[in-house]
């Protein structure tokens, strides 16, 4: 099929219900952005929303920003393609917040700074360190925008079947970039909060309808028992006998394709995802198991620690009025996203039984679009409800990648405008100049993100997000964790550890992407070295200890350079706000060089 020459051809094969729902979501998002653009004027409004957002709004907004295309589309797609192992993704995405809550949220808020680079500079009194920290906002950000762009391209390619993948990426990217350039974060807080509720609605309503027609979640897992691979369409007879006296709905199951993983491998731990490297190397199932265990642990570390180091999430903690509110917000975030994450795997499981055709396709037409397409199977019962529900999930997908991409764009633009321009290039620039710099930065970063996003059609959404987490886990997480709890840290130690761990993770993930996109051919090498492939694909298991080890080692060596007012800094981080130490610290600091 060639690209459509006429705008009319674009609409060939478009389901109007789906189009209408998505269109409304986009319009609402843009409208809210523009509306709040009028009310946000000062630079402080743009960066952290004036620092006064209530716990409920803030928790919804953080959840809205966090639930990206990976959560909305990627998790379901990966559960469908890889089975049990992919469940670690939603679980760790949600539970990573616990680490954030336990070790980082409260102290970070008390210290009070606009961004992570602000924290890095304030904690070590070092403008140099700020520059290093800024780089990682951009590294992690770009890795995180790629899967969002793939989500955008996939969704548009689904709504307009004639549209090439890259056009969707460009279109959505341009709209969001414009929105951010005009609205800033004040708009985003409101938009993000509303978008959480859109996403929750969009993911759970279709699940309930689908389950009421095609059978309960558990029963769809149940049919994957290895006995039922026969090309039969219905399995109702043996299941009704086994499942109890009144199994109400027969579980229909379409024949799996060639490329689908077998039932037992799919439903059991250590399946296709974690054993891939070892299988490629020709190891037997028994020999492959230790490798998959290693893979699983490395994945867990990357996701749990990575959540606690995502720059676009951390910046939101500064919008809490105090440390207690920061903790309460985190608790509510965990509940909100935990509820959400129960649903995407259901799509994956139902999709395996009802829509196995997707296993045969790749790129934008593969399993990553299961959430969008699955509700349409209801149309075979007549009526338009399948299309309406599919329209709702498309709207949810739009909400997902638009909100996360906006959030990333704001924090990356903030880094560029606030840190690079406002602090390094033109420290004496006026407020108006800074606002202008913010808008220009937004456009530049948006353009780069679109360019990168157009390249990654063949990579799985969820996998790419995992890579962003792996980089965050090896750079920001050790930095924040150690800076908050160990007073012996020096700037040199922090910088070496963050650079060592972070760059190692960055190098590994880049190599894997280049090789998976077939830009560099390493297939023969991976075949001989399955262990290296795993350590490269999921580097967190060695990069996080490396970063922490370097931090401790180098800090011990440079112990003479520990900031002289370290005790005061630690007090500000850990003492309750009611003691009023923060005010004291600022006065002391602006009066002169500490003690």
């Amino acid at each position: 099929m060639s690209a459509p020459a006429l705008p009319l051809a674009l609409f060939a094969g478009v389901d109007l219900w789906i189009f209408a729902c998505s269109f409304v979501t986009v319009i609402i998002t843009i409208w809210m952005g523009f509306r709040s653009a009028r009310t946000s004027k000062t630079a402080s409004d743009f960066f952290v929303a004036g620092r006064s957002v209530s716990v409920g709004w803030n928790a919804s907004a953080i959840s809205g920003e966090y639930l990206s295309a990976a959560s909305f589309m990627g998790v379901a797609g990966m559960v469908m393609s890889s089975g049990y192992d992919a469940l670690w993704y939603p679980v760790c995405y949600a539970c990573g917040y616990l680490f954030l809550l336990l070790f980082i949220a409260g102290p970070l808020r008390r210290f009070g700074a606009y961004t992570i680079p602000d924290f890095a500079e304030g904690r070590y009194d070092s403008p140099v360190f700020r520059k290093i920290a800024v780089c990682f906002v951009l590294f992690i950000g770009f890795f995180y925008t790629m899967p969002q762009m793939k989500g955008a391209g996939t969704t548009l390619a689904y709504i307009f079947p004639g549209l090439p993948y890259w056009v969707g990426v460009v279109l959505v990217g341009a709209v969001i970039t414009l929105n951010v350039a005009l609205g800033g974060m004040k708009g985003i807080t409101l938009v993000q909060a509303v978008q959480y509720w859109i996403k929750l609605f969009a993911i759970c309503v279709p699940v309930f309808v689908l389950m009421s027609v095609y059978g309960f979640y558990g029963r769809h897992v149940e049919v994957n028992d290895g006995r039922s691979i026969a090309p039969a369409v219905g399995l109702s007879a043996p299941l009704a006998a086994a499942g109890g006296p009144e199994a109400p709905i027969a579980i229909l199951r379409k024949p799996l394709g060639e490329k689908a993983p077998a039932d037992l491998a799919w439903v059991s731990p250590f399946g296709p995802l974690t054993t891939k490297a070892a299988k490629t190397a020709g190891l037997s199932a028994e020999q492959a198991r230790p490798y998959s265990l290693l893979y699983t642990y490395s994945l867990i570390i990357a996701l749990v620690c990575g959540t606690a180091g995502l720059p676009h999430i951390l910046v939101r903690f500064y919008t809490n009025p105090d440390g207690v509110a920061a903790k309460k917000t985190t608790m509510w975030v965990m509940i909100l996203i935990g509820v959400f994450y129960v649903f995407p795997p259901v799509f994956g499981v139902l999709g395996r039984d009802l829509l196995p055709e997707l296993y045969a396709a790749t790129g934008a037409k593969g399993t990553d679009k299961i959430v969008l397409e699955l509700p349409r199977v209801l149309n075979e019962h007549g009526g338009v409800w399948g299309s309406v529900l599919s329209g709702i999930t498309c709207a949810g997908a739009f909400a997902a990648f638009m909100s996360t991409f906006s959030g990333l764009l704001v924090s990356m633009t903030g880094a560029l405008a606030h840190d690079v321009y406002g602090r390094m290039l033109r420290p004496k620039s006026s407020a108006a100049e800074r606002m202008f710099a913010f808008k220009i930065s937004a456009v530049v970063i948006g353009a780069i993100a679109i360019g990168l996003g157009a390249q990654v059609e063949q990579l799985q959404i969820n996998f790419m997000v995992g890579q962003a987490f792996a980089i965050a886990a090896a750079s920001y997480f050790p930095l924040l964790f150690m800076s908050v709890w160990w007073r012996g840290m020096t700037m040199q130690g922090a910088a070496t550890g963050m650079l060592g761990g972070g760059l190692a993770a960055l190098a590994c993930t880049t190599i894997i992407n280049l090789s998976d996109l077939k830009i560099v051919d390493l297939a023969a090498f991976w075949k001989v070295n399955p262990l290296l492939r795993i350590l490269c694909e999921q580097p967190a298991i060695w990069t996080v200890p490396l970063a922490i080890g370097l931090m401790i080692g180098v800090s011990k060596l440079t112990a003479a350079t520990i900031p002289s007012d370290i005790r005061m800094k630690m007090l500000v981080l850990h003492a309750p706000e009611k003691l009023g130490l923060k005010q004291e610290y600022i006065q002391e600091h602006s009066a002169g060089a500490g003690h």
Partner: protein, 106 residues
């Protein structure tokens, strides 16, 4: 050292910071340990007891049920406990400092 240091000195003393950080870190570590036992234990259970973890409950395998559904409420329980305790700790610290010299503001 004078027998009764002023609250200002008390807050800025090495001892106060030490106690403060230790109490909060202890709470965090206890909660984190509980969480990690479950999180890191599940792959081990899958590895060493695959037959047990493949037991079917309401259609799910035991392992799937734990990871896909039951994990979330468990984490909420841990975080609820943590927040309650940590807010209590903060109030306690403030009360201690203020008790040392009542005429301090508030």
């Amino acid at each position: 050292m004078s027998p009764s240091p002023s609250p200002q000195e008390r807050v800025h003393s090495e001892e106060f910071l030490h106690t403060l950080m230790r109490r909060q870190l202890k709470l965090s570590v206890i909660c984190a340990a509980t969480f990690l036992v479950v999180l890191l234990g599940l792959p081990l259970a899958n590895y060493w007891a695959p037959a047990l973890m493949a037991t079917r409950i309401a259609g799910f395998t035991l392992s799937w049920l734990i990871l896909g559904v039951l994990f979330f409420p468990a984490v909420w329980a841990i975080s609820w406990y943590f927040i309650r305790r940590s807010i209590w700790l903060e109030n306690d610290e403030v009360a201690q400092v203020q008790a040392a010299q009542p005429e301090v503001k508030q």
